[in-house]
Amino acid sequence: MQEKTQLNVEVVPAGPGVTRLVMTGDLDYHTAGDLSALLPGLFGAQAGQGTVMEADLSGLEFIDSSGVAALIHLYQACEQHEMALRIVALTSYLRHLFQVTALDRLFDLPTL
């Protein structure tokens, strides 16, 4: 991509015990580290407070293999902290990608 789009991650409280991550922009080789870097703080602050992590991915314009890896890390981190990761919104492009990689079996995706 010629113009670099940044990744924005907003942490939004979404009800009792639920933390929602709203991601917008590109989640790729250049920005995947930003998401991974967020994780320790995320769980540090939320430790013991939440049971569900929701991810709104509908604002992600692009994701590459590094971005997929970052989502897997997010999933694994949630697992470690005994939180469920639920993807609450995503683009059709992402859904296709998760199907191709069979990650739809791993991630809890919204039903169509």
């Binding site: 991509m1 010629q2 113009e3 080789y29 692009f62 590459d64 293999s65 590094s66 997929v68 890896a69 897997i72 199907q99 191709v100 990689t101 069979a102 990650l103 079996r105 791993l106």
Partner: protein
């Protein structure tokens, strides 16, 4: 006299001219007054009458030229007081060890005055300034030339040439010894360049060289006896060196060699300023040479390490033609996270398992660059080892997954396609494919139809339990099976620059390749993809295509056909 430096004719000492106007005959100013006036000047003033005889000498002039006295100019100082010199003109004349600035002015109606000023110090300062500027220009030029290359020999050559052009009559760079020898380069001011090697033991014969090569601080030139320098140190016809200066070239932590400068016997000795300049120059040259040495060592290491990560040469496989293309995302790097390979069963495996088929793979590891390339190399190697024991894609994929899960590498996530090829006598080839989290392979039929294989499978390295479905495709002679990485379909570009190439465009492009030999198909798709990207940044891109070919008729059949 308030002005110590009257300019030519413009200012006349006021007191004197008023006196001149008062009388009718040319008045002779009061000697006491004159004396007071010239004594007030910090410049040396010598008053003389119309005949050039000295009338009065102030104390400043007497300090500068002690032999001055009233009367005729003393012979020793006559060159200072050249009466042919026009009034008002300034000259510089050496007198003894001083440099004097001399100027003649009209002083009163009857007198001339010689003004003397000692400019020895000014001149020395100017010379020093010019010399300093010359040295700085040399160092700037040196830095410019030294930074232009990361090649050890070129850096050493620049060092020798720079030194020869500015510092000395012969300059020799001795590079850090490798094994029992050290290479050297020698430059002369006329541009001659000589090169050679010396045995390490011979360096001991040159005063100061062994120490410099070991990185000890330089010793002053005057401590080095040029008479002890061996003949090989000097260029032919140079004769005996008169002055020798040996300076270490300091590198990054380790010495980067030594600089040997020689001046002829009739040349000037290396003074302290020279030695300081040479040391500064040597520091810059040493840094450049050591950077070049380091760079070349690392390049060699890189070449060795990347050798196995480069796209492999594809072996001939009976019944099919195969072509591949790999483009790494990083312009400078040839290696990346996409890979492909073709494996033929080795003799032992083939003997033990006659049904063993050639296997091809194309995959994409998470990430880009060197880290991804290393993982890609590991996957290829892992597959090569697994193939000694297992040949079925269905069982190979879970084994690769387990190997990746056990890998200490973070992000050891891989998507790939494995295909086992079974050519048939009819010219058809059956390909059994396992697709693990990878974009579905495409098939181009001879009539231009493009099919997308229905495949499903997990990305590898993430989960212990994976799913992989196996699809079998029948390639008729001329049909092409295309494996590709998502770098092709997810390439951003096009007219607007931000559009994804997409699977549909790839299928359309593939449809235009019907009837082409497989190498041309890959080349054409690679070209279309590159054009789409224009100048944009891109991911690693891989293409691997297999075409079933009708087997060549056997020699006996050909003979029969010819009859």
């Amino acid at each position: 006299m308030t002005e110590t430096r009257p300019t030519a004719g413009a200012v006349r000492p006021a007191g004197v001219s008023r006196t001149g106007q008062a009388g009718k005959t040319p008045p002779v100013p009061d000697p006491a007054l004159l004396h007071a006036i010239i004594e007030a000047s910090t410049e040396g003033v010598v008053l003389c009458d119309a005949d050039g005889r000295f009338v009065m000498v102030n104390s400043a002039a007497a300090r500068l030229v002690p032999e001055l006295a009233a009367g005729d100019p003393p012979a020793a100082a006559r060159s200072l007081f050249d009466r042919t010199c026009p009034v008002g003109e300034t000259r510089h004349t050496a007198h003894g060890d001083r440099l004097l600035q001399v100027r003649r002015e009209r002083f009163s109606l009857v007198h001339h005055a010689w003004y003397l000023r000692d400019v020895t110090g000014d001149s020395a300062r100017t010379d020093a300034l010019l010399e300093e500027r010359r040295r700085n220009e040399f160092l700037v030029e040196a830095s410019r030339r030294l930074s232009a290359s990361l090649n050890t020999r070129r850096c050493a050559r620049a060092t020798a040439e720079l030194a020869a052009s500015f510092l000395t009559d012969a300059a020799m760079v001795v590079l850090p010894p490798t094994g029992r020898h050290a290479s050297w380069l020698r430059a002369l001011p006329d541009g001659t360049l000589q090169e050679g090697t010396i045995a390490l033991g011979d360096t001991a014969a040159v005063p100061g060289l062994s120490e410099a090569l070991a990185g000890f601080p330089p010793v002053p030139s005057r401590w080095l006896d040029p008479a002890q320098a061996p003949a090989w140190l000097m260029p032919e016809g140079f004769g005996q060196a008169g002055h020798l200066l040996v300076t270490p070239l300091p590198g990054n932590g380790v010495p980067a060699g030594a600089l040997v400068l020689a001046r002829r016997e009739d040349g000037p000795a290396f003074d302290e300023a020279d030695e300081i300049l040479v040391r500064v120059f040597a520091a810059r040259a040493g840094a450049a040479i050591s950077a070049a040495v380091l760079y070349q060592e690392q390049s060699a290491t890189n070449a060795t390490l990347t050798g196995d990560l480069l796209p492999p040469a594809l072996p001939p496989v009976p019944g099919v033609e195969i072509a591949g293309s790999l483009r790494a995302s990083q312009q400078t790097g040839l290696i990346g996270g996409d890979f492909y390979d073709v494996y033929l069963p080795d003799a032992v495996t083939a003997a033990a398992d006659p049904g063993r088929r050639p296997l091809l793979t194309l995959g994409d590891v998470c990430g880009k660059g060197t880290g991804a390339a290393v993982l890609a190399g590991q996957v290829r190697q892992c597959l090569r080892a697994l193939l000694l024991l297992e040949g079925e894609p269905e069982r190979l994929v879970p084994l690769i997954n387990r190997s990746l899960l056990a890998s200490p590498a973070r992000n050891a996530y891989v998507t790939l396609v494995l295909g086992a090829l079974r050519p048939e006598p009819s010219g058809h080839t059956q390909v059994e494919l396992a697709v693990a989290g990878h974009p579905a392979p495409l098939v181009l039929r001879a009539d231009g139809t493009v099919e997308e294989l229905a495949s499903y499978g997990s990305m590898l390295g993430v989960l212990k339990q994976i799913v992989v479905t196996i699809v079998t495709v029948d390639l008729a002679p001329g049909d092409v099976l295309l494996l590709y990485s998502d770098g092709i379909t997810e390439a951003f570009g096009g007219p607007a620059g931000r559009e994804m190439f997409g699977a549909e465009r790839l299928k359309a492009a593939l449809a235009t390749c019907a009837g082409m030999p497989v190498a041309a198909v890959v080349e054409r798709l690679e070209q279309i993809s590159t054009e789409w990207l224009a100048h944009g940044e891109h991911d690693d891109r891989a293409l691997l295509a297999v075409q079933a070919v009708r087997p060549a008729p056997r020699a006996r059949d050909r003979e029969r056909a010819a009859r």
